[in-house]
């Protein structure tokens, strides 16, 4: 596995400066030493990105994540943003779902049937997220902030963050509203403040040691709402995208260093 990982690291950085490559090798060495399986998800994601699927029997290689069809370098760091062809703001997972339906001809029902996986069987969306996010390492988070729909989405995200709802009256701020608080032993970042949002957002998506699975931001929104005792948010809805957008804008300018590791 080790030589393959190193070769892949070299291939991924391509013609980038030698310094970047050296850094990348250093990072891979460290990851292997620490036993993080993030790279396994990246490889699985690469395979899925290139595998022809759906009624159109094509791969996702022509999927436009905002930097042009098939351009992955730096694409994740610039999300969420407005996409003219869909006339809405999209995060990575929402955009991938869009490409699965438009390029591959899959129904949304089929493509979104299993977006959150398990340790035994990771979801396609998770591995793809790992592969694509990894290609923004070292780049500054730069989500869209200027299009009217982007502004609208950020404002909606901010309002959602403080919206009390559900059987237990929680908003996001009920837990993530004050500095230095925790649930049981888990520290709770205050995600509407840049100094706390920056390190957190820069490490998602991530491998989660406690469940041996890979977790994405759409999953995080879903599981927070579950614990807030609300009904379930739709995958890739304006609500989940707006929250991710608002928090990423709060973390804007931070250097992306994921996919990370979580407890």
């Amino acid at each position: 596995m080790k030589p393959i990982a190193l070769l892949a690291a070299l291939a991924l950085t391509g013609a980038a400066q030698a310094q970047d490559t050296a850094k990348e090798i250093q990072r891979y060495r460290q990851m292997i030493a620490e036993g993080s399986p993030v790279e396994l998800f990246e490889f699985a994601g690469e395979e899925l990105w290139k595998r022809p699927q759906g009624p159109s029997n094509v791969s996702l290689e022509k999927c436009d994540l905002g930097r042009g069809p098939g351009v992955l370098k730096g694409a994740y760091a610039r999300l969420p943003r407005y996409f003219k062809d869909a006339d809405r703001v999209m995060d990575l997972e929402t955009r991938l779902l869009h490409c699965m339906t438009t390029l591959q001809g899959r129904s949304e029902k089929d493509a979104a049937a299993r977006v959150f996986g398990t340790a035994d069987r990771p979801a396609e969306m998770e591995s793809l997220s790992a592969y694509i996010a990894a290609q923004s390492r070292g780049m500054k988070l730069d989500p869209g902030v200027s299009h009217p729909k982007e502004k609208q989405s950020i404002e909606l995200g901010r309002a959602l963050y403080f919206q009390r709802a559900g059987a237990w009256d929680f908003s996001c701020a009920s837990c993530h509203g004050e500095e230095g608080k925790r649930i049981r032993m888990q520290d709770l970042p205050v995600l509407y403040k840049p100094q706390f949002a920056r390190p957190v957002i820069a490490s998602w998506p991530a491998y989660r040691l406690s469940t041996s699975g890979f977790i994405t931001l759409q999953w995080r929104m879903n599981d927070c709402y579950r614990q807030m005792r609300t009904p379930e948010p739709n995958f890739g809805s304006d609500t989940t995208v707006a929250l991710i957008h608002f928090m990423t804008v709060t973390a804007r300018g931070e250097t992306y260093r994921g996919p990370g590791n979580k407890r």
Binding site: L156, R164, A167, D169, R226, P231, P233
Partner: protein, 196 residues
């Protein structure tokens, strides 16, 4: 010709209004689906949730007083002693189950107390969103008034502090009055580990 156009453009520029809680609620109605026991009605804000959202948990004193009085009316105080079994109370305080879309309706729920409060000194994994309740009964005793206060606070925290982050555990149907009495025992019983 140009001047009216410029003026029109100026006025047409949409002022980006911050969405109101009602706008957000409408958006959530579009973007969520019911699952298990978690029905769509849960997205509809009641007066407490709306006021606390609008004021970022800082309601004007008069509004808070009026709404707290309304909330007080939701509390069904049982007759007699309100102090149940602290051992059962400890188990209820430990459990974070209940009310989520993957909890089976009818299964016993917990109070999630340790998620936010320190209670028994034996439990080191406790949260800090709420105040520490270690030794809570030591200085307060077990009088009827104290029992009533603790029962009421757990039943509906919003009757005492309108924008408290604590769920209305009785009023929301999460815990039964019997379970809340056991939690009163956990907090007040001199034999409870909380008071050791």
């Amino acid at each position: 010709m140009t001047r009216p156009l410029i003026l029109a453009a100026l006025f047409a520029a949409p002022a980006l209004a911050e969405p109101t809680p009602a706008d957000v609620q409408k958006q959530m109605q579009r973007d969520f689906h019911p699952r298990g026991q978690a029905t769509m009605e849960r997205l509809a804000q009641d007066g407490v949730q709306r006021v606390c959202t609008e004021t970022r948990d800082r309601p004007p004193a008069q509004v808070a007083k009026a709404l707290e009085a309304d909330q007080m009316k939701t509390i069904a105080f049982p007759e007699g002693s309100l102090m149940g079994d602290w051992k059962r109370g400890e188990a209820i305080a430990q459990s974070g189950r209940g009310m989520t879309w993957n909890d089976k309706p009818g299964d016993a729920a917990g109070g999630s107390c340790y998620n936010c409060h320190q209670l028994s000194p034996k439990e080191l994994s406790y949260g800090t969103i709420g105040p520490s309740l270690q030794g809570f009964g030591k200085t307060r005793g077990t009088s009827a008034e104290v029992q009533r206060y603790v029962f009421g606070k757990i039943y509906n925290a919003k009757a005492y502090n309108l924008c408290s982050q604590m769920p209305r555990l009785g009023a929301s149907g999460t815990l039964t009055p019997e379970q809340i009495k056991d939690l009163v025992g956990l907090l007040l019983d001199p034999a409870s580990p909380v008071n050791q």
